[in-house]
Symmetry: C2
Subunit: 306 residues, 2 copies
């Protein structure tokens, strides 16, 4: 490992936030020392990664906020990675939200970083994996990763997390059958946020039924009602997360599965190196308007030139 | 092109649904003749691809249903590709929904196919692109692609469609700021479905404001209220889609952008060929519990063996 990267890595391990921010930038942009930094990481099993996910408007950021307040009281050291472009932890946030967050930005036990959701084509997942691994090596107890959506991307993100919390809002109640397929398999804990709203009880009941069906005699996926804006139910959620993590300790099969997913994304990112997006676009622009254009023949030709 | 694939392709072009289903299966599973079939496609500019997307519970399938009824009256030939695992067009659907759909399954102007959302790791997007291209060559006027989610995957799917319809429900109204970032850039048309619900007017107004801000003097993204279960607003939506498609005819820049995205996904799929997932898992299982395990060193070693 080059000397300066070795030093940076030692600073990161010692909990230096500036060094960590620099390390993330190196990984994010694949600057000099990028590979050395990753090859020098240890697989930290202390820091636990908690994914907070769900559709837009489910109150994920407010929930992350409430969990931060809760765990700060317990002297936990926490990192927040906001992959959700609409998160107030992210740059795209409204001014009001940014101000609300600013308490945390100066707290020495909290590290916050927003990540671009659409960087280089095809590189998203590998980058988030790499950055999460750098963060895990910096002595945190908990790494909270906030992601948006209930589609494919979220399923992939679930592969990152030791515990995935799926956040829903009451209005989803009467539609809960339709979300069954994708969500049940990734949720370790369900949150019914904004539980003061009229339909909360219906959604809660439906999720409990689904959890019961899925469990088939084993432990049921917990369903927790919260009003994150008022910290209601947040202690219960935090306890459920810790309980789930403690129960996960000896699940080598699940861990192997997640690691295989991670490897796959890293291999994909590696394989795509050297593909010049600008040249691709230029050659495509020349080919696209020809009479006999065929996309698959073009791709075959482009790859043969490499 | 091998003779049997040439014949199959001619049958597909002639509108033979059985041949089309067989062609999709060949592409989906990369059976013999897979590459020949793709290399034999023409870039059809007649068939228009319409993406219907949005969060679970937004009523996307009901909207697709209503659009099918509308366009059948106009003698359009339509294909439906359901990428949404919770879609009643998909196998995962509840029994009641499947029965509701069965009218369409026997209609000679409608072809319906559900696509697995999680097949081989990393192969999703390329497969959907390839299958959509096969379908486009089969003489349809319209190809409806139903996808779920408001995350990364959906943004990628938007690259497929000539027109992307984002479907929301009234309850999202007061949260519409939070969804601004991701959705505004992919929506060509907004639908406020379940418009009979109390908050519909608020969501409608907010989306109109966002559309106005984004347009900055140019054409604003249409926002259309529907009650898909009663066919309310569906004719208006269908007209808005056709109007948008007509206006898109001469947008080479956008087309180039979409084609570049497509190429990128195809290249990615090509590059991942030959990576043996089973061997990866086996070697990882051996390495993972060693004292000095480092994920990045493992991936490097695995790739060096190839």
């Amino acid at each position: 490992m080059p000397g300066n990267i070795k030093q940076l890595h030692e600073q990161i391990k010692a909990g230096n936030f500036l060094a960590l921010a620099r390390g993330i930038t190196i990984v994010e942009n694949e600057l000099n020392g990028y590979e050395s930094l990753l090859l020098g990481l240890h697989e930290s099993r202390h820091a636990k990664v908690i994914g907070i996910t769900g559709p837009p408007g489910a109150g994920k950021s407010t929930l992350v906020n409430a969990l931060l307040r809760h765990w700060l009281k317990e002297n936990k050291k926490i990192a927040v990675l906001a992959v959700d472009p609409s998160s107030p932890f992210n740059y795209g946030a409204l001014l009001g939200d940014r101000i609300r967050m600013s308490d945390f930005y100066t707290n020495p036990n909290i590290f916050i970083r927003s990540l671009a959701t659409r960087g280089a084509l095809g590189g998203l997942n590998a980058k988030i994996i790499e950055i999460t691994d750098v963060v895990k090596d910096a002595g945190f107890d908990i790494v909270l990763v906030e992601t948006v959506g209930v589609g494919q991307s979220e399923v992939e993100i679930a592969g990152l997390a030791d515990c995935t919390v799926v956040t829903l809002v009451p209005e989803a109640g009467d539609e809960v059958q339709t979300i069954k397929a994708g969500i049940m398999e990734i949720a370790n804990i369900f949150v019914v946020n904004k539980a003061e709203r009229p339909d909360a009880e219906g959604l809660y009941r439906n999720l409990r039924i689904l959890a019961h069906e899925k469990a088939n005699g084993a432990d049921e996926t917990p369903v927790i009602k919260t009003i994150a804006t008022q910290d209601d139910g947040v202690a219960e959620l935090a306890n459920a997360i810790i309980k789930f993590l403690d129960g996960q300790k000896d699940m080598p099969e699940k861990r192997l599965h997640l690691m295989t997913d991670k490897c796959w994304h890293l291999i994909q990112a590696h394989k795509m190196k050297g593909i010049d997006a600008k040249r691709l676009r230029k050659e495509l622009a020349n080919a696209i308007n020809k009479e006999s254009f065929n996309l698959y023949a073009f791709v075959q030709g482009f790859l043969n030139q490499q």
